[in-house]
């Protein structure tokens, strides 16, 4: 465990990402409470104001403080991305693993289905799903999750297919281990590092996907009044900010920078975490001795 943590913090990017993530998490927890009032107080007679001491980044199209909104938006944006990626990873993994376990022609056709699903424009898929489910935070998360899922299915399928052909898995089969056991223990275990990297690197994509949905008015619906603080997300902010870009660029740049920083932090963290599962970039070749020792 200690070795793992050292591996995590060992690289400069890893260390930075941990610090960033902690800051982001803190913000997500305390944001709405601390900055919620500033973020939701409207002033329709003072919209799109330039930076001032009261409003470091100026005000948006409804007179609200842009900086406060960016900070408060951390929570919902993060939660949406988290739920979406979890759904995607869960479904994708199961689907991919199932295909590998069944094997044969089903696996091949299934692979093509995954590739088609993957290649189909995710925003269109999301729109269709939201049209079916009615717009809302939950629908947005499910829609994005379903459109990212094939990515994980593909990774699982490709990596697992590669691993399945490796010597030690054949050996495990010879030793009489069940298919399911092989699936979970060896196959998934071996591709764990790739999966971890993938999960974290998809965070940024999920955040961006929410913003695209908001552009079409299908993201998280706006609330009004004081409780609006719980429905602020960077996607919607970004969309509104771009509408007023020439007048007040900060309205768009605030959430855009936030999304980029988050994407970066999660990506670096994922890379670092992946390395702890697998110190070298190449898969370690295990011997028969390792397998029998591990199984007894």
């Amino acid at each position: 465990m200690k070795g793992r943590i050292r591996a995590l913090l060992g690289t400069p990017t890893g260390a930075i990402s941990v610090v960033l993530l902690l800051a982001i998490l803190v913000l997500a927890v305390i944001g709405p409470a601390v900055f919620g009032d500033a973020a939701t107080t409207t002033d329709f007679l003072a919209i799109l104001q330039p930076s001032s001491s009261a409003h470091p980044l100026g005000t948006d199209g409804a007179g609200r403080d842009i900086l406060a909104r960016t900070l408060v938006g951390t929570r919902l944006s993060l939660v949406l991305a988290l739920v979406a990626v979890s759904i995607a990873a869960g479904i994708g993994l199961l689907f991919g693993a199932a295909l590998v376990t069944i094997g044969g022609r089903t696996e091949r056709v299934g692979g093509t289905v995954i590739d088609t699903w993957l290649g189909f424009p995710s925003i269109l898929l999301s729109v269709l799903i939201i049209a079916i489910l009615e717009p809302g935070a939950g629908a947005a998360a499910v829609a994005i999750g379903l459109s990212i899922a094939p990515f994980f299915a593909r990774i699982t399928l490709s990596s697992a297919a590669g691993v399945v052909n490796l010597d030690y898995v054949s050996a495990a089969r010879l030793l009489g281990l069940s298919r399911v056991r092989i699936g979970t223990r060896y196959v998934l275990g071996s591709i764990a590092d790739a999966l971890v990297v993938a999960v974290f690197s998809m965070f940024g994509q999920a955040l961006i996907a929410v913003s695209a949905l908001s552009y079409l008015g299908l993201g998280v619906p706006a609330d009004v009044g004081s409780s609006e603080r719980y429905s602020i997300d960077w996607g919607r902010m970004l969309n509104e900010g771009i509408e007023n870009f020439r007048q007040r660029p900060a309205g768009a740049l605030g959430p855009a920078v936030a999304i980029a920083i988050c994407g970066l932090a999660f990506g670096w963290f994922g890379d670092a975490l992946g390395r702890t599962f697998n110190p070298r970039l190449v898969v370690r070749r295990r011997t028969y001795a390792d397998i029998s020792a591990a199984d007894s």
């Binding site: 093509t112 289905v113 290649g119 189909f120 269709l128 870009f245 670096w268």
Partner: protein
């Protein structure tokens, strides 16, 4: 290995057909899951008495074959998919084929442009950074990783807004909306392509490093072969695989997926049409365009597979 190709191609073809079949089914189901009565939506804008409206709704229902049983509707949608008879749009009454053809040109140009940006930037960039770092120059590595991670996380339409600010408003080099020349496609292609280009560059760099780190390349270099030869013979082929794969994915997804960027540049693409049609319940257009997009993806993926097999015949086995 001449026996490998026919079997390979046949296998791919069967898979394409199978997935198209699944596509038609999925689209059929999805479109019918959207709440609301499509006949009602088709008639919605009519001005008239209650009775006139009710009659119009009944007519629309029979026009759309909605008064028939689901299995029959399914068979009908299969038949129309094969015969390319997609009916007319509710909103404008023009044929769906016309709707699609009108928007195909602009969409294709953006897809091609974006793909060219992705491959044209990622391959040279990834190669150069990979070849010049290779374990040394930690600073460049972190800088590259940071830059690609940051820019890769910038949403395409933020990219578009920034590009417009720089190259349309500040430096009047490009048109703001399509004007009929090739210049129309430059900024939109960059907007959709830069992010994926940088992410692909990372992968290419990793592939480059992985090849350079492997034994046979090291052996080849140690025999004093010029490194240029190593690059072309060993590195490039391995780099082509992810480049082609991701290039294919990018192309296929741009055929429908550049909705937001299209909106910013005021282009009329298939993606925006599909979204609009889903939102107002224009059944025929949704079915046809969704199907078309799916087929494009399947076909492009199959073509990429073939291309990869040409580059690396070992792939004929899977």
């Amino acid at each position: 290995m001449s026996g490998g190709w026919p079997r390979f191609l046949l296998g791919r073809l069967i898979r394409v057909v199978a997935v198209c079949f699944i596509l038609v089914t999925v689209v059929f189901v999805a479109v019918r899951l959207v709440p609301g009565d499509p006949a009602q939506k088709a008639v919605g804008f009519l001005d008239g008495t209650r009775k006139e409206k009710d009659a119009a709704i009944e007519r629309a229902r029979s026009d759309l074959n909605l008064d028939q049983s689901l299995p029959r509707q399914y068979v009908q949608s299969l038949v129309s998919a094969i015969t390319f008879d997609y009916g007319v749009s509710f909103r404008t009454q023009e044929s769906v084929s016309r709707v699609i053809l009108d928007r195909l040109g602009s969409t294709l140009r953006l897809a091609l442009g974006g793909t060219m940006v992705v491959i044209g930037i990622a391959v040279p960039l990834g190669l150069i950074v990979g070849l010049s770092t290779n374990g040394r120059r930690k600073g460049l590595e972190v800088g590259f990783s940071g830059l690609t991670g940051f820019v890769g996380s910038v949403p395409p339409y933020v990219m578009a807004t920034l590009l417009i600010y720089a190259f349309v408003n500040s430096l009047p080099w490009f048109p703001r909306i399509p004007e009929g020349s090739v210049a129309d496609d430059v900024l939109p292609s960059l907007a959709v392509g830069l992010g994926p280009a940088l992410l692909l560059a990372r992968i290419i760099r990793l592939e480059t490093l992985s090849v350079l780190g492997q034994d046979y390349a090291r052996t080849a270099r140690s025999k004093w072969l010029p490194s240029g030869r190593v690059v072309v013979r060993d590195v490039l082929p391995n780099v082509l695989a992810p480049a082609l794969t991701i290039g294919g994915v990018v192309f296929a997804s741009l055929i429908g997926g550049a909705v937001v960027v299209e909106g910013i540049f005021n282009r009329n693409g298939l993606g925006s049409k599909l979204v609009e049609s889903i939102l107002i319940g224009d059944f025929p257009v949704v079915q046809a365009v969704a199907l078309l997009l799916g087929v494009v993806v399947v076909v492009v993926n199959a073509l990429v597979d073939v291309a990869l097999a040409v580059v690396d015949p070992r792939r004929l086995v899977t």
